[in-house]
Symmetry: C2
Subunit: 332 residues, 2 copies
């Protein structure tokens, strides 16, 4: 195995100089740095980051736990986390919890063992108490966990408000909201709160149908289809506008309406939430939806975590709420 | 910091016994194991895998380099790699090369530094010579690199054959194939080879239009749309059947045809390749396409790499070609 001594010999400098270049510490002239880097390349020397991590107590690894990395919204979020991490010399360890509490707990254990520098937590099955026990820096997506764990999310309250207002302004008189499961206190529940408040403010009759918590099936479109048929179809005739808590659901509702000859948007108006890649690619219909920008959310999650890691003393927990906007499509 | 000595004290056993439990070496009675595990949990002790990796020379980390983790096909592939890795106690480091040779080279360097146990290489911009220099176990997706680097891919040759045959059997008399860039020798080029051979065998006039290599835009549907308009539209009237080398392209072609009042499938038949999540969710149209199963491909990539890592002496490079099938939709 090639060692730091071999690099020093090849470059014609001292071992200390090589060590300075590798660890980026102390003053090194440009020419000397080049000489050392050239020598490292010539004899194919890779500084052993495992050994360096032990010395420095930093691994430059970030754990990223998501419910399902295949879901278009999370796929986009992960990519943007990774791009930011790469620019700052971090790499990400990707974990799919599949919304199983046990798997999520296992991952946290594994990440602790691997001595990641911090965790971005986008999965939300474990009790908040479990996270509080973790001694690593954590940033959460879409969930308030504690005062010491900062969160990043889109402006769910405003998103719910503008979605509902848009339906009312488009002439709807009876509104339905299909929400995610409301029993875990996560930020997307604010979409339902905003929907109710806005309907009350405008004296519009409304109803909320809550999706049940479905394990292992997060990204399966088929499940949304079944849900619409079994839980929504019978009541649909009463409403002329529906705000769906995500785009996959909005699309499933649109397909159901089409199959059952319910004209969209004339008889039924539909608004989604996400504006994820599937929605952006989809040409027929172009969904009316609330855009939560996965690129900005990913960057904010990663930059918050890196700040916590690199400025342990000075960092004050700082939550980030990212703006949303209405994207007008053909379904309203 | 809690140490192995504290665990031994808490459990009332020797340090050697705790070490045996942690490293899963030597005989340990069931009761003793339980006692040690309970003690570890009680005082929140995580064995330091970094230190253990140094001793054992295994990190249980796998590098996964893809062009773009947001692309629906790769998002699905990654998820399935991760699920298999988790079952075998490995974790994955995710890297997006964005089809930039420099970034890909950087990643390989970073992965060497982090002492990953092996690399799954799904990005294909670097020269094959660069990979041969890497001393780690590598498995490649869709590319033959060398005799010592096993590859996994779908049966591109058969895929191209059944796609073309299906168009001919559906009555097409003039066929077009839109291929990916053919200048890098990757396995998906066999789709174009099979297309040409099948057309010749059936004496059907044909043409191949090659997509140029487009950086940083791998997952952007917009680019496929522009490509169809600029490079394909003018010639389209000559053909009654098109085999597209991926689903995103097939969808862009369908949308173009619809906008220009070209009836699909009556006047123009379209076959894609992938059957990725976007295609599966899409209801209108249901694309006719060749399914390459991302779940099986992901598992095969990961299991091949784990075999190479865990049986360094005995492993003989073993390439895997996964079956494809025609999914009949509404575009033929």
């Amino acid at each position: 195995m090639v060692s730091i001594k071999d690099v020093a010999k090849e470059a014609g400098v001292s071992v200390t100089t090589v060590s300075r270049v590798i660890n980026n510490r102390g003053y090194i002239g440009k020419e000397t740095r080049k000489k050392v880097e050239k020598a490292m390349a010539a004899i194919d020397y890779s500084p052993n980051q495992i050994a360096r991590a032990l010395q420095r107590s930093q691994s430059y690894l970030l754990g990223v736990i998501v419910p399902d990395s295949e879901h278009p919204f999370f796929a986009e979020l992960i990519k943007n986390i990774e791009l930011f991490a790469y620019q700052h010399n971090y790499k990400i360890l990707l974990c799919n919890s599949l919304d199983e509490a046990e798997k999520e707990a296992n991952y946290i254990g594994m990440l602790k063992e691997n001595r990641v520098d911090g965790i971005i937590m986008c999965s939300q099955t474990l009790d908040i108490e479990e996270y509080k026990k973790v001694k690593l820096p954590i940033v959460s997506f879409d969930r308030i966990m504690s005062n010491s764990i900062p969160y990043v999310g889109s402006d769910n309250l405003n998103g719910g408000t503008i979605a509902t207002q848009h339906l009312i302004e488009s002439g709807c008189k009876q509104l339905l909201h299909i929400s995610g499961p409301l029993d875990i206190d996560v930020l997307p529940n604010r979409r339902a709160d905003a929907f109710k408040l806005t309907c009350m403010k405008h004296e519009i009759p409304f109803k909320v149908i809550e999706q049940e918590y479905s394990r292992k099936a997060f990204s399966l479109y088929k499940n949304y289809e079944t849900f619409i048929e079994e839980q929504v179809a019978d009541e649909l005739a009463k409403y002329d506008g529906v705000f769906c808590s995500n785009d996959m659901l909005a699309y499933a509702l649109y397909i159901h309406a089409k199959k059952n000859n319910i004209p969209v948007p004339d008889q039924l108006k539909i608004v989604g939430y996400d504006y994820m890649s599937f929605t952006r690619i989809l040409q027929d219909p172009k969904l009316t939806t609330i855009k939560q920008p996965a690129d900005r959310l990913g960057r904010e999650l990663c930059s918050t975590l890196v700040k916590m890691i690199e400025d342990k003393e000075g960092y004050k927990p700082n939550n980030t709420i990212v703006d949303v906007e209405l994207i007008k499509g053909d379904t309203t």
